[in-house]
């Protein structure tokens, strides 16, 4: 009989090996799945994981899609570590896009060098302002942030819809719901020529580094981790819970807001009814795949981004319905999450014995 046993310390070998284990599991499942569907598994894997990044343009697209996932994922990971359950990064992203886009529209055709920096700043502030609502309600009225952040996602999308249908509608746009296109001064420059990837990915990677330093080396980062792992100890040590909540939500609001403005000032180039295909929600998964570690989140975001591109390639290349993409993504995530088990646990062969309930068992609770 096999039994799980907690390791004394998390295995560093397994923390590298577990994603590989997940990949092997996925390959086997994918192989069976595609065989059953009557498709060539090798071609399917090629389309999913290789073809999307086989060109410079493809790599650019991968990084472009990684940017918002990484930005949101970083902020969320920080919050989750401190036990702040913000699941509304999508709303903060939308507000960032609105605020940044609003500044761009205010500048109009101006060629001011201040336009873009102010847009980015506005985006960050917009996201923060939106995240301040759940922070305020939680700290002042004790209102659960899961509900508030989620409801604010719907509200932010309706605000955006109202703006592009009404006050911010392009006067030349035949009353269709979109704003005027942003000028060159309001658009981020391209990082790699021939692609669409902007400086946004550089900001995101830079922030990942900053987040890593923040959580490892600063006292505030330490306080937040303690608050997440052992709230009682944190309270005993006099760490303010309220301050942690504010810090967590403000940082996530800022990064998600930046993600939003990077979308509208980058590949989209205007405000329109839909800005994000759900980056704020996908980033929750990204954060956990990255094990809430800033560097891990970078890899999580890259992988998630690749899965989206791969899904499109599989549709174009072999006529697989888009439903398969969701199925495949879900399975891969299950494997990745499950494989992490072996970092903190190991399998041990034990002889089946009668459990002595009188003996006090060793217990463990983990936050992850």
């Amino acid at each position: 009989m096999l039994k799980l046993e907690r390791r004394a310390t998390p295995s560093s070998i397994m923390s590298v090996a577990s994603p590989l284990l997940a990949a092997v599991g996925m390959l086997i499942t994918g192989f069976v799945l595609f065989k059953v569907l009557g498709k060539d598994p090798v071609e399917a894997f090629y389309l999913f994981f290789v073809k999307p990044v086989s060109t410079t343009y493809g790599i650019g697209e991968l990084l472009l899609k990684t940017t918002p996932l990484l930005l949101c994922g970083l902020g969320l990971a920080l919050g989750f570590r401190a036990n702040v359950w913000n699941i509304g990064a999508e709303g903060q992203l939308t507000m960032g896009a609105i605020a940044g886009g609003g500044v761009a529209l205010w500048f109009g055709d101006s060629e001011s060098a201040f336009a873009l920096p102010l847009m980015l700043l506005a985006g960050v502030l917009g996201g923060m302002a939106w995240a301040a609502i759940p922070a305020f309600l939680r700290t002042r009225f004790n209102t659960n942030e899961i509900l508030v952040t989620l409801m604010l996602v719907y509200i932010s999308q309706l605000v955006l819809s109202w703006l592009v249908h009404g006050p911010w509608r392009d006067p030349q746009g035949l009353n269709y719901p979109q704003s005027q296109g942003f000028g060159d001064a309001e658009t981020m420059s391209i990082l790699i020529s021939g692609t669409r990837v902007t400086w946004g990915i550089v900001y995101a990677l830079g922030l990942a580094l900053v987040a890593w330093i923040f959580s490892q080396k600063t006292f505030a980062g330490f306080r937040m981790q303690v608050a997440g792992l052992a709230p009682a100890a944190a309270a005993y040590a006099g760490f303010s819970e309220k301050r942690n909540i504010w810090i967590a939500l403000m940082i996530c609001g800022a990064t998600a807001g930046l993600a939003g403005v990077c979308e509208v000032a980058g590949p989209i180039g205007r405000l329109q009814q839909q800005i994000s295909p759900g980056y704020g929600f996908a980033a929750i998964i990204v954060a956990w795949i990255g094990r809430l570690h800033p560097i891990g989140v970078v890899f999580g975001a890259l992988l998630m981004s690749l899965l989206y591109l791969g899904g499109e390639a599989a549709q174009m290349g072999m006529g697989l319905p888009s439903a398969i993409t969701g199925l495949f993504q879900g399975l891969l995530l299950f494997y990745l999450l499950a494989a992490d088990l072996f970092i903190t646990f190991r399998l041990k062969r034990v002889a089946p014995v009668e459990v002595n309930t009188l003996k006090p068992p060793v217990r463990a609770e983990t936050a992850a």
């Binding site: 004790n142 929600f281 199925l327 995530l333 299950f334």
Partner: protein, 306 residues
């Protein structure tokens, strides 16, 4: 025609799937497990219920099959989070992704097919009463069962022995474990119950509210159900009130539009979401409310080495 009665009837139908899903999730969360996969399980329930009823003509079998299919999905969630200790938030979201994909995939051939709607039951003597009959005695059986479910869950959580064990596990699995309660078994049962209810909620959409199957037809109701659990501070009464409130405010804003209110419709559409936040703020003014009601171990894995 008095428009108020049909408005209330429409609200009840809109709120019923939310009640099933949210009450199911309440039991799950009270045991300390957070399953964010309701949307995925609802869709699997919707497609299974539809396909079964389409094939057999029986709505009862449809609901049953829907519950079973969603339970199967919840077992997957249970195995991952309870046995393999994966993170509950991420696993739940992955379950939603998986459920949306799987339901769309298996349901492809059912799109556009009709199925007979589960008809309202008539109670001799009562349904015929003017106004009151329409208001109270003119619903399908699932509406009445949702009330029964509410009573049942309320009783289970507050009065039954197993319910107390479940809550104890949700508060502190290690303590419950040390006095000999099986955390794993209880949580598994809770997760399965949550799955079954989400499946029924999904089937209610595809068999009663809008009898058809289209991929993604839950249109975010799983998320609303999740929010309602928090809204109701894990208390069945408040959750049911919340579901009717949410359905009612949605109905009200549409009703107001029909009278040509000069307010941008986007703002009217925000009302249900904004109202949910505001009411929750009022409920939670007292700082102890959430702390006292939120299961202390919510979202945390538990591993017993014994």
């Amino acid at each position: 025609m008095n428009p108020i009665v049909p408005m209330i009837a429409s609200t009840v139908v809109a709120a019923t799937p939310l009640i099933y899903a949210a009450l199911g999730e309440t039991v799950v969360e009270r045991s300390g497990v957070l399953n964010l996969g309701i949307e995925g399980m609802m869709l699997i329930g919707a497609v299974t219920g539809f396909a079964t009823t389409y094939a057999t003509g029986s709505a009862a079998l449809g609901f049953l099959a829907a519950a079973c299919a969603a339970v199967a999905l919840s077992l997957l969630f249970g195995f991952l989070t309870l046995n393999l200790q994966t993170n509950q938030v991420a696993t739940g979201l992955a379950l939603t992704l998986f459920g949306i994909g799987l339901s769309a995939f298996v349901g492809y051939n059912y799109a556009g097919l009709p199925v007979n709607r589960l008809t309202p039951i008539t109670i001799p003597g009562l349904t015929a009463i003017p106004v009151v009959g329409d208001l109270l005695f003119h619903y399908d059986i699932m509406v009445y069962l949702s009330i029964a479910l509410f009573v049942g869950v309320q009783w289970f959580l507050t009065k039954s022995r197993t319910g107390l064990t479940l809550r104890a596990i949700g508060e502190s699995p290690s303590v419950a474990h040390s006095i000999g309660k099986s955390v794993l078994k209880t949580r598994y049962l809770a997760v399965m119950f949550g799955g079954a209810m989400a499946g029924i909620a999904g089937a209610y959409l595809s068999l009663v509210q809008t009898p058809m199957w289209v991929e993604g037809m839950s249109a975010g109701k799983g998320w609303i159900a999740l929010a309602l659990v928090v809204f109701g501070t894990w208390k069945p009464t408040r959750i049911v009130v919340g579901a009717y409130l949410f359905g009612g405010v949605t109905q009200f804003q549409l009703f107001a539009q029909g009278f040509g209110l000069p307010i941008p419709t986007e703002f009217l559409s925000m009302l249900p979401y904004a109202a949910t936040i505001i009411v929750l703020v009022i409920i939670c003014r007292d700082p102890k409310t959430i702390l006292l009601n939120q299961p202390a171990s919510l979202g945390r894995s538990f591993h017993s080495a014994a």
